[in-house]
């Protein structure tokens, strides 16, 4: 399970470099998230632009990832249609903050906080 980390923007981005988060890689995904460490405390955005398919095992792994990151909020970005469908089907789209793209996530986090 290939993940890459981008800490250049206003918020850390973990990019899933795989086309599928499914039963075959659910455990590896959780392990890979565990080993993601940055010096930052803020939210983490999971960039799913490359992900074409997620099943209930994969969704469970993403939920587990959110719990692993605990105080650091896990948000999602760049969902392809099949992934968004699964999120909506399971109502998980109401549980995660979902950005249309990495750029949108940066915009959401890069602006100055309201007073």
């Amino acid at each position: 399970m290939q993940l890459s980390l981008n800490t250049e923007g206003p918020v850390d981005v973990v990019v899933v470099e795989e086309a599928r988060i499914d039963a075959a890689v659910a455990i590896a995904f959780k392990d890979a998230i565990r080993s993601v460490t940055t010096g930052n405390d803020g939210p983490v955005v999971l960039d799913l632009e490359r992900v074409e398919f997620i099943d209930s095992s994969g969704l469970g792994a993403v939920v587990a990832a959110r719990k692993l990151l605990a105080a650091r909020e896990l948000e999602l970005a760049a969902l392809q249609r099949p992934v968004r469908s699964v999120m909506e089907l399971t109502r998980m789209d109401s549980v995660f903050v979902i950005h249309d793209s990495r750029a949108a996530a940066y915009s959401a986090h890069g602006s100055a906080p309201a007073a």
Partner: protein, 176 residues
């Protein structure tokens, strides 16, 4: 390749009264005779997650010319959920177990037939499943599983299951 369950011809499968009561499903009666104007694709696999990936990819490649993209995505998801269940539960103690999947289009309806030699579903009937509560749930209580059967039911128009002669026979109907 490990020997899998003996393939049963689709026309025989649909007519065996002991197997499934497909006729109880609305609009499921296939044409008695005459040419099959639909399609039929079949794949066999062993009960391993990477085999499930291979089988899904093979079926998608075969069906891509015949089905709209959204239908194909829906079909892939349902197939994945069922196959994952067979791998994890029916063949929990038998990682080389054989699974046969047949996808058939009959009279404009899409049927998916699964045939495996694994253990019977506990209680002999399909779990109903439910989508876990996601509203006002704390982080620790966020569900990490239990979605599979709820997803299968939501994505299908009908499901039939029977354990018979050492086989699990599962049939789904989805809309095109």
């Amino acid at each position: 390749m490990t020997a899998g369950p003996q393939p049963i011809p689709l026309t025989v499968l649909l007519r065996l009264p002991e197997i499934v009561d497909l006729h109880g499903m609305p609009d499921s009666t296939p044409p008695a005779d005459g040419p099959d104007t639909g399609f039929q694709e079949c794949v066999s696999l062993c009960a391993q997650p990477l085999e499930v990936r291979r089988a899904l990819a093979t079926l998608k490649d075969k069906l891509r010319p015949r089905l709209p993209a959204e239908t194909l995505d829906r079909l892939e998801l349902v197939l994945a959920e069922v196959l994952n269940n067979i791998v994890e539960h029916a063949y929990a103690d038998a990682p080389d177990g054989g699974i046969e999947v047949r996808i058939a289009s009959i009279s404009g309806k899409i049927f998916c037939h699964f045939n495996d030699l694994g253990v019977e579903i506990p209680g002999g009937s399909l779990p109903v499943g439910h989508f876990p509560r996601t509203h006002d749930v704390s982080l620790e209580d966020l569900p990490e599983g239990g979605f599979g059967w709820a997803m299968i039911h939501t994505l299908t128009d009908g499901i039939s299951y029977r354990h018979w002669g050492g086989h699990n026979f599962l049939t789904l109907r989805i809309s095109a």
